[in-house]
Symmetry: C2
Amino acid sequence: MTFTVNAENKSFGGWHKQLTHQSSSTQCQMQLAIYLPPEASEQNKVPVLYWLSGLTCTDENFMQKAGAQKLAAELGIAIVCPDTSPRGEDVADDDNYDLGQGAGFYVNATEQPWAKHYQMYDYLVEELPTLIEQSFPVTDQRALAGHSMGGHGALVIGLRNPTRYTSLSAFSPIANPVDCPWGQKAFSSYLGDDTSKWRQYDASELMTDCQQPLPTRVDQGLADNFLVEQLKPEALERAAKKSDYPLQLHRHEGYDHSYYFIASFIEQHLRFHAEHLKR
Amino acid sequence: MTFTVNAENKSFGGWHKQLTHQSSSTQCQMQLAIYLPPEASEQNKVPVLYWLSGLTCTDENFMQKAGAQKLAAELGIAIVCPDTSPRGEDVADDDNYDLGQGAGFYVNATEQPWAKHYQMYDYLVEELPTLIEQSFPVTDQRALAGHSMGGHGALVIGLRNPTRYTSLSAFSPIANPVDCPWGQKAFSSYLGDDTSKWRQYDASELMTDCQQPLPTRVDQGLADNFLVEQLKPEALERAAKKSDYPLQLHRHEGYDHSYYFIASFIEQHLRFHAEHLKR
């Protein structure tokens, strides 16, 4: 088996498993988690929702805090939560929370000291789904979702690989990273100063020219401290208008950037993906 | 206002609030959390489920990991999660996780150096509900639940104060602490060597002689690493048999001691309490 199972917990009749494996993309041990609903078996493979987490998170935050397992069990959907960056003593890092380990931004870094290990885009687009589909009773029907930095990752990866996913969703995504401090800091470090290279990792830029749209849902809390400076859902909205992209953007009075917001609306995201995964 | 609100997050249309206040029982600042369902108002006060957490926990574990808010919002029940001990630089502590801060065992300590601050029993039975009912739109209809050390606390406090609660429940409680290592260590430290004083804090001992039973539900995972040495639900079962106590004890194949277990069955506990809180 490709994966080492470090822990497993029964959950709503299915199983949460925390896994590690050696990644050829990131050239280090990667940790992740999978939730398998009760019905998953070799005779009854289930589709997968990949969840990309935000800054400072690991595979654990979503599995422990989103309250997604109950509905995933009911709907018969597996969930895979990768880590947010490569990790380890040999992996380049930064003292700040928004760069380096825990802050991979789901890109393929081209600059030093990041380029060797920070290849999260390749890891997520190709390597991880292949390994998951070889190792667990799941189909190649994939949905993609995420929060904040992970919302950015989900939208970018989905927009660039529309044949690989049935549907996309994001909570509070960094929707226009080329135009906000988090994105500018990460992209200048990982991708260098040539801002023309940043465009391929910006959901609003990609959506502006999108030719092959996917069903896409975004939820944003209006009491989110990062809304104005970092998240900019209005840029995504403008892009969708330009390309006539079927973006469902929902704004919610009073909700913030925390997992309390995600938990409150994760059922809607799971039902949204279930509809498209079943097509 | 008695409480300082340190943080608040909208959750399922209601509000999670993290609070601090100066406690007269424990003579220190206590942190806690409350979840208020959307319908709670001065014109429509709601009943309260008090949740007591396990070793090493704070007010945060249950609120973040149990996934209880969705159903609490639907059923119109507030949830209060106190901390598991007094805390602070002036508060006695121990290097081990199972004694001192984070491990108050919900007793009134009589021994040094614990007696000054470790008065969690009085804090929970009298002080905290009084303050909560003065400060928030809640009634004096109370249910009591907990996990592990908190399951012990919930059963003991409920059994000793049957007029103050409508119903009790526990996940994986330390059911017979006088007869397990965790309980013996805590009780000898907090209550001294006279084991006759321990009895009043042992759910199985109290249930054996119980004259005024409350509706009580206990859930226990059979893959729980602590089951045999520390938890001993069979002692509670024997006690219930002796006193003809209406204990509902549910054992679950494959589930462990984690919040993945709690999340899987919290709906059943909330519905159980809702039935009795509405009487």
